[in-house]
Amino acid sequence: MTVRSGTFRSVAHRTGADEVVDALCAVIEPSKVRSGATEVRLYRRDASNMTGRAGAVVFAETTADVQAAVRVADRFGVPFLARGSGTGLAGGAVPPDGAIVISTSKMNRILSVDAINRQAWVEPGVLNLDLSKQIAHLGVHFAPDPSSQQTCSIGGNVANNSGGPHCLADGVTSAHVLALEVVLPDGSVTVLGGEAPEPDGLDLRGAFVGSEGMFGVATKVCVRLMQNPPDVATMLMEFDSVADGAQLVSDIIADGIVPAAVEMMDRLCLVAVEAWLHAGLPTHAAAALLIECVGESGQVAYDVARIKELASERGVANVRTAADDAERAVLWKGRKGAFGAVAQIKPNYYLHDTVVPRARLAEVIEKVYEITARYGIDVINVFHAGDGNLHPLLVYDAREEGMVDKVHAAGREIVTFSVGVGGVLSGEHGIGLEKRDLMPLMFSEIDLSAQESLRRAFDPKLIANPNKVLPNPATCGDMHAVPDGAWI
């Protein structure tokens, strides 16, 4: 069933919701609790194309606020979910019916930084790029760097186990979170993991990271910081065929070189980006690889020289090396701004996120072209090639009759093909609502029931962001939040 904005019912129609709001206002400063129709409407969706319905929004400023809100949810048996910046693409922050949305965006303080041991405690609403900017003078940074890093929050990164171009060498968010203060779904507050490297017991920290808000709410995060590299080299390599560029990625890794980042953009992407960036991108190339090597000068020089040799063997047409930080910034702006650039082509896009073995990259991209051509859809490929993490961007005009259905059908084929060649459903966006019902492509009923077991252990009443990730029919019967336009 679709809940469109026009069908939203006011709080007055839901006396149960009134009670919940009253209970929230009794334990949280009422100015932090919003339940007006217009305000809750703003929180009915994230950056996906799905919408739900919030019952109330709590603008938490402290752990105590979060705890109070979760305890109300527990007492009334209503769902709750934490929300960071709302930049998630898989519908993970779309509220199920009448949920209490706990916004952590006002919990945005950096609490402590230890630049020697490279740890920092931060609140979940701290924005990803703000953290690295604030600590840059100490010679350290937070490694995960999603394309949305200017607006996405650390709390959201924890929920989605977010990645980014520079996670090739250093790993995704889970490798950069040491400890979490969390409010569990029963309202208790505890710390998972710790500053100490080997806390006794199970790695509950690891289990929590990437749990998409279904295990509780992170209220403080101890992150690991990385040393800033003394030397950086950034190259843009042009290829006459996507296959040659894709094969070079495998060649580099097989040669024992792990660059900091290896990103691919195909021709349509280069054209769209160049149209607004005017950075001299090779719009005639079939594909370009953006490769960055970091480290000490000797290692960087070796890696760059070797990569150029390997590229030459793959028939690289041209290599552009960033002369300085300004040129490097322009090249990265082109990569990270690619999604915005598609507005040059069509008004709507649907972004996918599968991972395949690097050796299968060329074959899968060819398949993506074939599938989208068959449906008459334009496609841009801009992705983390080093990780085999594809991001086919299906570009379309939703006003064309039947186009949305075609986009969904093509997407399903792309995901199914990716998993079929030994890949996975999601590399960094998460499952959320979007891919919930595709989980059986990767996991058997037995596998899924093990994941459900872990979820029940954290949340026996199943009130923390329910109906996401796991396609269990027993728990999604009352899920009314998935709109017709959603692809699930």
């Binding site: 500053e195 490297p197 080997e198 806390p199 792990v258 590399g427």
Partner: protein, 297 residues
């Protein structure tokens, strides 16, 4: 592998107490309980994907030797089996540079308490499909399921690996040496492992007064502490005996012991609920509690 996953699952069966035996290097199986052994053998090494797939009973040393032929290595300490090492989950002294062991396991097919082959994780280096059971299982002491086979993330071997000693201020080394693989302080001097390019290493030798060392220092025992790294040096000095502190990590190898902190009630309750969900009758490695782990040498 010398045993299929289904054969291993049949050995585990659906009921009755059962324990899993590795090489015994990490404390060994539970005594006086029926014992099973996981499949052994390397199925696939793929340097271009930076992965290796093998049975859980494969000896780590055999795995490392085989990986070395492909120019790869894996961040598992030598000596035990792959499954036993992952079940204990304790990294060796390269953790500063190579990261914790929990980041190594990409996928496992384990045998559940119901005797069913169950898959967790995925085969690629990047994967956020579903909940992260792999990290839950690393360090779970075989109390939630028995590893059958695994896919591990490997890394290219460095072109040069060298050990040094330095008398410089250990905190200066921690702050200024670029990405050392290990910094081990014994109260007097610091052992430094550097991997990478010869020229870079030569520059570090000059800058930090490093002198050649044959290898890592002997690690005092029998105690292994885990402390916030900012507290580890002072804590190590405050207890009589010999010690080595893993700088920037917080593991202390010490001849003396300290009290372990008691877990709080919410953590205890979570552990009990997880155990109950995964092994309701408590048949897997009975008596083992990850919150009170057995001493490991």
């Amino acid at each position: 592998m010398d045993l299929t996953l289904e054969e291993f699952a049949a050995q585990v069966g659906p009921d009755g107490p059962v324990t899993v035996a590795g090489s015994g290097s990490q404390g060994g199986a539970v005594v006086e309980v029926r014992s099973v052994t996981a499949p052994s053998g390397i199925e696939r090494i793929d340097a271009a994907e930076m992965v290796v797939e093998c049975g859980a009973a494969t000896p780590v040393d055999e795995l490392r030797d085989a990986l070395a032929e492909h120019g790869q290595t894996v961040a598992l300490p030598p000596g035990g089996t792959v499954g036993g090492t992952l079940a204990v989950g304790r990294s060796d002294v390269t953790r500063l540079g190579h990261g914790p062991m929990r980041d190594v396991l990409l996928q496992t097919r384990y045998v559940s308490a119901a005797g069913k082959v169950t898959k967790a994780g995925g085969p690629t280096v990047k994967n956020v499909s579903g909940f992260d059971l792999c990290r839950l299982f690393v360090g779970s002491y075989g109390t939630l399921g028995f590893f059958g086979d695994v896919i591990l993330r490997t890394r290219p071997m460095a072109r040069t690996t060298r050990w040094f000693r330095s008398d410089r201020d250990p905190l200066e080394l921690l702050r200024d040496v670029h990405r050392p693989v290990a910094l081990l302080w014994d109260g007097a001097s610091t052992s430094v492992r550097l991997d990478g390019d010869d020229g870079d290493i030569a520059r570090a030798v000059d800058r930090f007064d490093l002198r050649d060392a044959p290898g890592p220092p002997p690690l005092p025992g029998p105690h292994r502490w885990s402390l916030p790294p900012a507290q580890a040096m002072d804590a190590a000095r405050s207890v009589d005996g010999s010690f080595v502190v893993e700088l920037g990590v917080g593991v202390v190898h010490h001849s003396g012991g300290i009290e372990r902190p008691e877990p709080d009630a919410a953590i205890r309750a979570l552990h009990d609920r997880i155990k109950h969900e995964f092994d309701p009758t408590g048949r897997l490695n009975p008596g083992v509690d990850p919150l009170s782990p057995p001493a490991v040498g």
